[in-house]
Amino acid sequence: MDEDGGGDGAADSGDAPTNDGQRFDRLPATADERTVPERPTREEVLAWWDERFGIEPAVFAEHTFWERGSGKIWAFRGELTTPVEIEALGMTCLRTRQEHWKPTMSAIQRFGEHATRNVVHLAREQAATFLAGEDQDLDWDGDWGYLVVTHDLAGGSEPLGVGLYVYGELRSQVPKGRRRDLR
Protein backbone atom coordinates (compact mmCIF):
# COMPACT_ATOMS: atom_id res chain seq x y z
CA MET A 1 0.00 0.00 0.00
CA ASP A 2 1.61 3.21 -0.95
CA GLU A 3 0.36 5.72 1.59
CA ASP A 4 -1.96 5.83 4.53
CA GLY A 5 -3.73 2.86 3.06
CA GLY A 6 -3.65 0.35 5.88
CA GLY A 7 -5.77 0.66 8.98
CA ASP A 8 -3.45 0.69 11.94
CA GLY A 9 -6.06 -0.58 14.34
CA ALA A 10 -5.42 2.31 16.70
CA ALA A 11 -8.35 2.64 19.06
CA ASP A 12 -8.77 4.96 21.96
CA SER A 13 -9.60 3.41 25.31
CA GLY A 14 -12.62 4.32 27.41
CA ASP A 15 -16.33 4.01 26.96
CA ALA A 16 -16.94 6.66 24.32
CA PRO A 17 -17.32 5.47 20.71
CA THR A 18 -13.86 5.16 19.22
CA ASN A 19 -12.04 4.85 15.97
CA ASP A 20 -11.81 1.43 14.49
CA GLY A 21 -8.94 0.57 12.16
CA GLN A 22 -11.08 -1.89 10.24
CA ARG A 23 -13.99 0.28 9.42
CA PHE A 24 -14.94 3.54 7.80
CA ASP A 25 -17.01 6.05 9.75
CA ARG A 26 -18.46 9.01 7.95
CA LEU A 27 -17.34 12.37 9.29
CA PRO A 28 -20.09 14.28 11.06
CA ALA A 29 -21.23 17.35 9.15
CA THR A 30 -20.59 19.71 12.06
CA ALA A 31 -19.41 19.64 15.68
CA ASP A 32 -23.02 19.34 16.92
CA GLU A 33 -23.29 15.92 15.29
CA ARG A 34 -19.98 14.65 16.58
CA THR A 35 -20.12 11.47 18.70
CA VAL A 36 -16.47 10.40 18.63
CA PRO A 37 -14.28 12.92 20.44
CA GLU A 38 -11.43 14.23 18.28
CA ARG A 39 -13.05 13.14 15.04
CA PRO A 40 -12.81 16.03 12.59
CA THR A 41 -16.01 17.25 10.97
CA ARG A 42 -16.73 17.73 7.28
CA GLU A 43 -16.97 21.44 7.96
CA GLU A 44 -13.46 21.48 9.45
CA VAL A 45 -12.01 19.47 6.58
CA LEU A 46 -13.51 21.79 3.99
CA ALA A 47 -12.35 24.84 5.93
CA TRP A 48 -8.82 23.45 6.12
CA TRP A 49 -8.50 22.92 2.36
CA ASP A 50 -9.86 26.39 1.80
CA GLU A 51 -7.62 28.11 4.33
CA ARG A 52 -4.44 26.27 3.56
CA PHE A 53 -4.62 26.05 -0.24
CA GLY A 54 -7.57 28.18 -1.31
CA ILE A 55 -9.38 25.06 -2.57
CA GLU A 56 -13.04 25.93 -2.27
CA PRO A 57 -15.60 23.66 -0.61
CA ALA A 58 -17.45 23.36 -3.95
CA VAL A 59 -14.55 21.24 -5.28
CA PHE A 60 -15.57 18.52 -2.80
CA ALA A 61 -19.32 18.93 -3.24
CA GLU A 62 -19.76 15.38 -4.56
CA HIS A 63 -17.37 13.76 -2.08
CA THR A 64 -18.10 12.35 1.35
CA PHE A 65 -15.33 12.11 3.96
CA TRP A 66 -14.63 9.05 6.10
CA GLU A 67 -12.25 8.17 8.89
CA ARG A 68 -10.57 4.82 9.30
CA GLY A 69 -8.04 4.48 12.07
CA SER A 70 -7.51 7.58 14.07
CA GLY A 71 -7.00 10.66 11.92
CA LYS A 72 -6.86 8.99 8.51
CA ILE A 73 -9.39 10.68 6.31
CA TRP A 74 -10.60 9.28 2.98
CA ALA A 75 -12.59 10.97 0.21
CA PHE A 76 -15.28 8.93 -1.55
CA ARG A 77 -17.41 10.16 -4.42
CA GLY A 78 -20.72 8.74 -3.30
CA GLU A 79 -22.91 7.90 -0.35
CA LEU A 80 -23.12 4.75 1.77
CA THR A 81 -24.67 4.04 5.14
CA THR A 82 -22.07 4.55 7.87
CA PRO A 83 -20.17 2.62 9.18
CA VAL A 84 -18.76 0.57 6.29
CA GLU A 85 -16.54 -2.41 7.02
CA ILE A 86 -14.49 -2.89 3.87
CA GLU A 87 -10.88 -2.63 2.68
CA ALA A 88 -10.91 0.80 1.07
CA LEU A 89 -13.38 3.55 0.25
CA GLY A 90 -12.38 6.07 -2.39
CA MET A 91 -8.99 7.73 -1.91
CA THR A 92 -6.76 8.57 1.04
CA CYS A 93 -6.99 12.28 1.48
CA LEU A 94 -5.69 13.76 4.73
CA ARG A 95 -4.07 12.93 8.06
CA THR A 96 -5.44 14.90 10.97
CA ARG A 97 -3.73 13.20 13.88
CA GLN A 98 -0.73 15.53 14.11
CA GLU A 99 -0.85 19.21 14.93
CA HIS A 100 -0.44 20.19 11.29
CA TRP A 101 -2.85 18.37 9.04
CA LYS A 102 -1.15 16.70 6.12
CA PRO A 103 -2.66 16.05 2.69
CA THR A 104 -1.76 12.91 0.74
CA MET A 105 0.09 12.93 -2.58
CA SER A 106 -2.95 11.33 -4.23
CA ALA A 107 -5.29 14.04 -2.99
CA ILE A 108 -2.89 16.76 -4.14
CA GLN A 109 -2.57 15.21 -7.59
CA ARG A 110 -6.33 14.90 -7.78
CA PHE A 111 -7.51 18.21 -6.24
CA GLY A 112 -4.34 20.33 -6.24
CA GLU A 113 -5.09 22.02 -9.55
CA HIS A 114 -7.62 24.15 -7.66
CA ALA A 115 -5.03 25.44 -5.19
CA THR A 116 -4.38 29.18 -5.23
CA ARG A 117 -1.98 29.56 -2.30
CA ASN A 118 0.89 27.69 -0.70
CA VAL A 119 1.76 26.35 -4.13
CA VAL A 120 5.40 26.14 -5.17
CA HIS A 121 6.34 25.64 -8.80
CA LEU A 122 9.54 23.71 -9.49
CA ALA A 123 11.77 23.54 -12.55
CA ARG A 124 12.19 20.09 -14.10
CA GLU A 125 15.44 19.30 -12.34
CA GLN A 126 14.07 20.33 -8.94
CA ALA A 127 10.90 18.31 -9.59
CA ALA A 128 13.04 15.24 -10.30
CA THR A 129 14.94 15.71 -7.02
CA PHE A 130 11.60 16.04 -5.21
CA LEU A 131 10.19 12.91 -6.87
CA ALA A 132 13.29 10.95 -5.88
CA GLY A 133 12.34 11.70 -2.25
CA GLU A 134 15.23 14.10 -1.60
CA ASP A 135 15.22 17.39 0.28
CA GLN A 136 16.52 20.56 -1.38
CA ASP A 137 17.23 24.20 -0.62
CA LEU A 138 14.50 26.49 -1.81
CA ASP A 139 13.87 30.21 -1.95
CA TRP A 140 10.35 30.64 -0.66
CA ASP A 141 9.08 33.60 1.29
CA GLY A 142 5.62 32.23 1.96
CA ASP A 143 4.34 30.17 4.89
CA TRP A 144 6.20 27.30 6.41
CA GLY A 145 4.40 23.95 6.38
CA TYR A 146 2.89 21.72 3.75
CA LEU A 147 2.92 23.02 0.19
CA VAL A 148 1.45 21.87 -3.10
CA VAL A 149 4.38 21.17 -5.41
CA THR A 150 3.76 21.71 -9.12
CA HIS A 151 5.84 21.53 -12.29
CA ASP A 152 5.29 21.83 -16.02
CA LEU A 153 4.11 18.83 -17.98
CA ALA A 154 2.94 18.79 -21.60
CA GLY A 155 2.48 22.52 -21.73
CA GLY A 156 0.68 23.05 -18.40
CA SER A 157 1.37 23.27 -14.70
CA GLU A 158 0.50 20.00 -12.92
CA PRO A 159 0.33 19.21 -9.19
CA LEU A 160 2.96 16.59 -8.39
CA GLY A 161 2.86 16.10 -4.63
CA VAL A 162 3.29 17.43 -1.12
CA GLY A 163 6.40 19.19 0.15
CA LEU A 164 7.17 20.36 3.69
CA TYR A 165 8.87 23.76 3.72
CA VAL A 166 10.96 24.50 6.83
CA TYR A 167 14.31 26.25 7.49
CA GLY A 168 14.92 27.23 3.86
CA GLU A 169 14.45 23.66 2.73
CA LEU A 170 11.77 21.81 0.75
CA ARG A 171 11.39 18.35 2.24
CA SER A 172 9.92 15.84 -0.14
CA GLN A 173 6.89 13.98 1.28
CA VAL A 174 6.62 11.59 -1.67
CA PRO A 175 5.82 8.17 -0.12
CA LYS A 176 8.45 5.48 -0.66
CA GLY A 177 6.34 3.46 -3.07
CA ARG A 178 5.85 6.42 -5.38
CA ARG A 179 9.44 7.67 -5.54
CA ARG A 180 11.17 7.46 -8.91
CA ASP A 181 14.53 8.61 -10.10
CA LEU A 182 13.88 10.27 -13.44
CA ARG A 183 17.10 12.33 -13.40
Binding site: F76, G78, E87, A88, M91
Partner: protein, 301 residues
Protein backbone atom coordinates in the same frame (compact mmCIF):
# COMPACT_ATOMS: atom_id res chain seq x y z
CA UNK B 1 2.93 -31.54 -22.83
CA UNK B 2 2.14 -29.54 -25.94
CA UNK B 3 -0.79 -27.53 -24.57
CA UNK B 4 -1.45 -25.48 -27.67
CA UNK B 5 -1.85 -28.64 -29.78
CA UNK B 6 -5.14 -29.23 -27.93
CA UNK B 7 -6.63 -26.33 -29.84
CA UNK B 8 -5.72 -27.45 -33.36
CA UNK B 9 -9.32 -28.57 -34.01
CA UNK B 10 -10.65 -25.12 -32.99
CA UNK B 11 -8.27 -22.72 -34.69
CA UNK B 12 -8.50 -21.94 -38.42
CA UNK B 13 -4.86 -21.20 -39.17
CA UNK B 14 -3.10 -23.27 -36.55
CA UNK B 15 0.45 -22.54 -37.78
CA UNK B 16 -0.14 -18.77 -37.63
CA UNK B 17 -1.68 -19.23 -34.17
CA UNK B 18 1.34 -21.12 -32.86
CA UNK B 19 3.80 -18.67 -34.42
CA UNK B 20 1.98 -15.68 -32.87
CA UNK B 21 2.07 -17.36 -29.43
CA UNK B 22 5.86 -17.43 -29.67
CA UNK B 23 6.30 -13.72 -30.42
CA UNK B 24 6.68 -11.25 -27.54
CA UNK B 25 4.01 -8.57 -27.10
CA UNK B 26 4.65 -4.82 -27.37
CA UNK B 27 3.98 -2.71 -24.26
CA UNK B 28 0.68 -0.90 -24.34
CA UNK B 29 -0.69 1.78 -22.04
CA UNK B 30 -4.19 3.10 -21.55
CA UNK B 31 -4.51 6.85 -21.15
CA UNK B 32 -6.37 7.72 -17.94
CA UNK B 33 -8.98 10.14 -19.23
CA UNK B 34 -9.90 11.09 -15.65
CA UNK B 35 -6.60 12.94 -15.57
CA UNK B 36 -5.66 14.07 -19.04
CA UNK B 37 -6.34 13.83 -22.76
CA UNK B 38 -4.75 11.39 -25.18
CA UNK B 39 -3.11 14.33 -26.89
CA UNK B 40 -1.42 15.64 -23.74
CA UNK B 41 -0.34 12.14 -22.67
CA UNK B 42 1.28 11.64 -26.09
CA UNK B 43 2.97 14.98 -25.83
CA UNK B 44 4.35 14.21 -22.36
CA UNK B 45 5.67 10.83 -23.48
CA UNK B 46 7.28 12.21 -26.60
CA UNK B 47 8.96 14.86 -24.43
CA UNK B 48 10.29 12.02 -22.25
CA UNK B 49 11.82 10.45 -25.39
CA UNK B 50 9.27 7.62 -25.67
CA UNK B 51 7.97 6.68 -29.11
CA UNK B 52 4.23 6.13 -29.14
CA UNK B 53 1.90 4.65 -31.71
CA UNK B 54 -1.91 4.66 -31.71
CA UNK B 55 -3.96 1.49 -31.46
CA UNK B 56 -6.58 1.68 -34.19
CA UNK B 57 -9.60 0.18 -32.45
CA UNK B 58 -9.26 1.97 -29.11
CA UNK B 59 -8.58 5.72 -29.01
CA UNK B 60 -7.18 5.60 -25.45
CA UNK B 61 -4.54 2.92 -26.05
CA UNK B 62 -0.96 3.69 -27.07
CA UNK B 63 1.86 1.29 -28.00
CA UNK B 64 5.26 2.17 -26.53
CA UNK B 65 8.83 1.28 -27.37
CA UNK B 66 9.62 1.40 -23.63
CA UNK B 67 8.51 0.15 -20.22
CA UNK B 68 5.39 1.99 -19.08
CA UNK B 69 6.42 2.73 -15.45
CA UNK B 70 9.40 5.10 -15.40
CA UNK B 71 8.30 8.43 -16.82
CA UNK B 72 6.49 11.63 -15.82
CA UNK B 73 3.06 10.83 -17.26
CA UNK B 74 3.05 7.55 -15.27
CA UNK B 75 3.93 9.42 -12.06
CA UNK B 76 0.97 11.75 -12.61
CA UNK B 77 -1.45 8.89 -13.20
CA UNK B 78 -1.94 9.84 -16.83
CA UNK B 79 -1.20 6.35 -18.12
CA UNK B 80 -1.61 2.76 -16.98
CA UNK B 81 0.12 -0.29 -18.47
CA UNK B 82 -2.61 -2.56 -19.83
CA UNK B 83 -2.52 -5.14 -22.56
CA UNK B 84 -4.65 -4.45 -25.63
CA UNK B 85 -7.13 -7.32 -25.22
CA UNK B 86 -7.45 -6.59 -21.52
CA UNK B 87 -9.12 -3.30 -22.45
CA UNK B 88 -11.99 -5.16 -24.17
CA UNK B 89 -14.28 -6.41 -21.37
CA UNK B 90 -14.82 -3.02 -19.73
CA UNK B 91 -15.82 -1.65 -23.15
CA UNK B 92 -18.21 -4.54 -23.66
CA UNK B 93 -19.71 -3.95 -20.20
CA UNK B 94 -20.08 -0.28 -21.18
CA UNK B 95 -21.03 1.23 -17.80
CA UNK B 96 -22.50 4.74 -17.67
CA UNK B 97 -21.68 7.49 -15.15
CA UNK B 98 -23.82 7.07 -12.04
CA UNK B 99 -24.38 3.31 -12.30
CA UNK B 100 -23.52 0.64 -9.72
CA UNK B 101 -20.94 -1.80 -11.00
CA UNK B 102 -19.28 -4.86 -9.46
CA UNK B 103 -15.78 -5.90 -10.49
CA UNK B 104 -15.75 -9.42 -9.02
CA UNK B 105 -12.07 -10.36 -9.49
CA UNK B 106 -10.52 -6.96 -9.58
CA UNK B 107 -6.85 -7.00 -8.62
CA UNK B 108 -4.54 -5.41 -9.72
CA UNK B 109 -7.22 -3.05 -10.95
CA UNK B 110 -6.52 -2.43 -14.65
CA UNK B 111 -10.17 -2.95 -15.45
CA UNK B 112 -11.42 -1.36 -12.22
CA UNK B 113 -9.72 1.90 -13.09
CA UNK B 114 -10.87 1.64 -16.70
CA UNK B 115 -14.48 1.16 -15.52
CA UNK B 116 -14.13 4.20 -13.25
CA UNK B 117 -12.82 6.23 -16.20
CA UNK B 118 -15.71 5.11 -18.43
CA UNK B 119 -18.05 6.25 -15.63
CA UNK B 120 -16.22 9.56 -15.27
CA UNK B 121 -15.60 8.67 -11.60
CA UNK B 122 -19.36 8.91 -10.88
CA UNK B 123 -21.55 6.15 -9.46
CA UNK B 124 -20.08 3.18 -7.61
CA UNK B 125 -17.52 0.56 -8.57
CA UNK B 126 -17.16 -2.22 -6.00
CA UNK B 127 -13.81 -3.96 -6.54
CA UNK B 128 -13.48 -7.40 -4.95
CA UNK B 129 -10.56 -9.79 -4.73
CA UNK B 130 -9.72 -12.62 -2.37
CA UNK B 131 -5.98 -11.88 -2.43
CA UNK B 132 -4.91 -9.12 -0.05
CA UNK B 133 -1.44 -8.73 -1.59
CA UNK B 134 -2.93 -8.20 -5.03
CA UNK B 135 -5.46 -5.76 -3.55
CA UNK B 136 -2.62 -3.62 -2.33
CA UNK B 137 -1.46 -3.31 -5.96
CA UNK B 138 -5.01 -2.36 -6.89
CA UNK B 139 -5.05 0.29 -4.18
CA UNK B 140 -1.82 1.81 -5.46
CA UNK B 141 -3.35 1.98 -8.92
CA UNK B 142 -6.62 3.60 -7.85
CA UNK B 143 -4.67 6.16 -5.82
CA UNK B 144 -2.20 6.97 -8.59
CA UNK B 145 -4.92 7.22 -11.22
CA UNK B 146 -7.00 9.50 -8.98
CA UNK B 147 -10.11 7.32 -8.80
CA UNK B 148 -12.53 8.14 -5.95
CA UNK B 149 -15.69 6.14 -6.75
CA UNK B 150 -14.23 2.70 -5.96
CA UNK B 151 -15.02 0.68 -2.81
CA UNK B 152 -12.73 -2.31 -2.22
CA UNK B 153 -13.69 -5.60 -0.55
CA UNK B 154 -11.44 -8.51 0.36
CA UNK B 155 -13.56 -11.67 0.14
CA UNK B 156 -14.31 -14.72 -1.94
CA UNK B 157 -16.43 -13.39 -4.81
CA UNK B 158 -18.60 -16.53 -4.65
CA UNK B 159 -20.05 -15.29 -1.36
CA UNK B 160 -19.85 -11.54 -2.07
CA UNK B 161 -21.99 -9.61 0.39
CA UNK B 162 -24.13 -6.64 -0.63
CA UNK B 163 -24.53 -5.67 3.01
CA UNK B 164 -21.99 -2.78 2.98
CA UNK B 165 -23.66 -1.44 -0.18
CA UNK B 166 -27.16 -0.96 1.18
CA UNK B 167 -28.20 -4.42 -0.13
CA UNK B 168 -28.87 -3.01 -3.58
CA UNK B 169 -28.13 -5.10 -6.66
CA UNK B 170 -25.75 -3.89 -9.35
CA UNK B 171 -26.58 -2.54 -12.79
CA UNK B 172 -23.58 -4.35 -14.24
CA UNK B 173 -20.93 -6.83 -13.23
CA UNK B 174 -17.55 -7.67 -14.69
CA UNK B 175 -16.47 -11.23 -13.97
CA UNK B 176 -12.82 -11.38 -15.04
CA UNK B 177 -11.98 -14.69 -13.40
CA UNK B 178 -8.68 -16.34 -12.46
CA UNK B 179 -7.85 -18.86 -15.20
CA UNK B 180 -5.11 -21.00 -16.70
CA UNK B 181 -3.87 -17.88 -18.53
CA UNK B 182 -2.87 -19.65 -21.73
CA UNK B 183 -3.56 -16.47 -23.67
CA UNK B 184 -0.80 -14.62 -21.80
CA UNK B 185 1.88 -16.96 -23.17
CA UNK B 186 3.38 -14.13 -25.23
CA UNK B 187 4.10 -12.26 -21.99
CA UNK B 188 4.86 -15.23 -19.72
CA UNK B 189 6.15 -18.19 -21.71
CA UNK B 190 6.25 -20.23 -18.47
CA UNK B 191 2.46 -20.33 -18.23
CA UNK B 192 2.26 -23.39 -20.45
CA UNK B 193 4.98 -25.27 -18.58
CA UNK B 194 2.83 -25.18 -15.44
CA UNK B 195 -0.36 -26.26 -17.21
CA UNK B 196 -2.26 -29.32 -15.98
CA UNK B 197 -5.74 -30.56 -16.87
CA UNK B 198 -6.48 -30.96 -13.14
CA UNK B 199 -5.82 -27.26 -12.64
CA UNK B 200 -8.11 -26.38 -15.56
CA UNK B 201 -10.93 -28.53 -14.13
CA UNK B 202 -10.41 -27.23 -10.61
CA UNK B 203 -10.43 -23.60 -11.57
CA UNK B 204 -13.51 -24.10 -13.76
CA UNK B 205 -15.38 -24.96 -10.56
CA UNK B 206 -14.40 -21.62 -8.99
CA UNK B 207 -15.25 -19.75 -12.21
CA UNK B 208 -18.77 -21.20 -12.22
CA UNK B 209 -19.32 -20.09 -8.62
CA UNK B 210 -18.03 -16.57 -9.26
CA UNK B 211 -20.09 -16.08 -12.43
CA UNK B 212 -23.22 -17.37 -10.66
CA UNK B 213 -22.73 -14.80 -7.91
CA UNK B 214 -22.21 -12.12 -10.58
CA UNK B 215 -25.60 -12.95 -12.12
CA UNK B 216 -27.34 -13.13 -8.73
CA UNK B 217 -25.97 -9.79 -7.58
CA UNK B 218 -27.10 -7.97 -10.75
CA UNK B 219 -30.63 -6.60 -11.20
CA UNK B 220 -32.99 -8.06 -13.83
CA UNK B 221 -32.24 -6.36 -17.14
CA UNK B 222 -28.66 -5.71 -16.01
CA UNK B 223 -25.53 -6.87 -17.82
CA UNK B 224 -22.79 -9.29 -16.80
CA UNK B 225 -19.57 -9.70 -18.78
CA UNK B 226 -17.54 -12.88 -18.35
CA UNK B 227 -13.91 -12.85 -19.49
CA UNK B 228 -10.79 -15.00 -19.33
CA UNK B 229 -7.38 -15.01 -20.95
CA UNK B 230 -7.45 -18.71 -21.78
CA UNK B 231 -8.38 -20.81 -24.81
CA UNK B 232 -9.63 -23.77 -22.73
CA UNK B 233 -13.35 -24.41 -23.45
CA UNK B 234 -13.68 -25.99 -19.98
CA UNK B 235 -13.09 -22.50 -18.52
CA UNK B 236 -15.04 -20.60 -21.15
CA UNK B 237 -18.07 -22.10 -22.90
CA UNK B 238 -18.22 -24.87 -20.26
CA UNK B 239 -18.67 -22.28 -17.51
CA UNK B 240 -21.29 -20.35 -19.50
CA UNK B 241 -23.20 -23.58 -20.22
CA UNK B 242 -23.37 -24.34 -16.49
CA UNK B 243 -24.47 -20.85 -15.47
CA UNK B 244 -27.08 -20.61 -18.24
CA UNK B 245 -28.66 -23.75 -16.79
CA UNK B 246 -28.49 -22.64 -13.15
CA UNK B 247 -29.28 -18.92 -13.19
CA UNK B 248 -31.81 -16.60 -14.88
CA UNK B 249 -29.77 -15.13 -17.70
CA UNK B 250 -29.14 -15.36 -21.42
CA UNK B 251 -26.21 -14.70 -23.73
CA UNK B 252 -26.41 -11.69 -26.02
CA UNK B 253 -24.38 -10.81 -29.11
CA UNK B 254 -21.10 -8.97 -28.60
CA UNK B 255 -19.98 -6.50 -31.18
CA UNK B 256 -16.18 -6.42 -30.96
CA UNK B 257 -13.93 -3.93 -32.72
CA UNK B 258 -11.33 -6.71 -33.21
CA UNK B 259 -11.28 -9.83 -35.34
CA UNK B 260 -12.62 -12.77 -33.32
CA UNK B 261 -14.19 -16.23 -33.60
CA UNK B 262 -17.48 -17.51 -32.17
CA UNK B 263 -17.67 -19.61 -29.01
CA UNK B 264 -17.49 -23.38 -29.56
CA UNK B 265 -20.52 -25.60 -28.89
CA UNK B 266 -18.65 -28.91 -28.68
CA UNK B 267 -15.46 -29.93 -26.99
CA UNK B 268 -13.99 -33.36 -26.24
CA UNK B 269 -17.36 -35.08 -26.35
CA UNK B 270 -19.22 -32.38 -24.37
CA UNK B 271 -22.02 -30.38 -25.96
CA UNK B 272 -22.72 -26.87 -24.76
CA UNK B 273 -25.83 -24.69 -24.92
CA UNK B 274 -26.08 -23.55 -28.56
CA UNK B 275 -26.19 -19.87 -27.53
CA UNK B 276 -22.51 -20.00 -26.49
CA UNK B 277 -21.69 -19.17 -30.13
CA UNK B 278 -22.50 -15.60 -29.09
CA UNK B 279 -19.36 -15.51 -26.93
CA UNK B 280 -16.17 -14.32 -28.66
CA UNK B 281 -12.75 -15.99 -28.81
CA UNK B 282 -9.71 -13.94 -29.70
CA UNK B 283 -6.64 -15.79 -30.89
CA UNK B 284 -3.22 -14.09 -30.85
CA UNK B 285 -2.69 -14.29 -34.62
CA UNK B 286 -5.98 -12.60 -35.47
CA UNK B 287 -4.99 -9.10 -34.26
CA UNK B 288 -1.41 -9.64 -33.04
CA UNK B 289 -2.51 -9.47 -29.38
CA UNK B 290 -2.73 -11.82 -26.39
CA UNK B 291 -5.46 -14.48 -26.37
CA UNK B 292 -8.86 -13.69 -24.86
CA UNK B 293 -12.42 -14.84 -24.28
CA UNK B 294 -15.38 -12.59 -23.64
CA UNK B 295 -19.13 -13.14 -23.26
CA UNK B 296 -22.01 -10.81 -22.47
CA UNK B 297 -25.02 -11.94 -20.44
CA UNK B 298 -28.32 -10.27 -19.77
CA UNK B 299 -29.92 -11.00 -16.43
CA UNK B 300 -33.53 -12.10 -16.99
CA UNK B 301 -34.83 -13.22 -13.58
Amino acid sequence: MDVLARYEPLVDDFEAFRAACERPLPSVVRVNTLRTTVERARRAMTADGIDVESVGWHPHLLKLDDQPGANWPYVHGWIHGQEEVSALPARVLDPAPGERVWDACAAPGSKTTQLAALMDDRGLVVATDDNLGRLSALRSNTERLGVTNVAVTNEDARVHSLQPFDEEPYDRALVDVPCSCEGTVRKNPDTLAEWTIEHVRGIAGAQKGILRRGVQATRPGGTVVYSTCTFAPEENEGVLDHVLAEESCRLVEVDLPLESSPGVTEWEGEEYDPSVVRARRIYPHQNDTGGFFCAKLEVTG
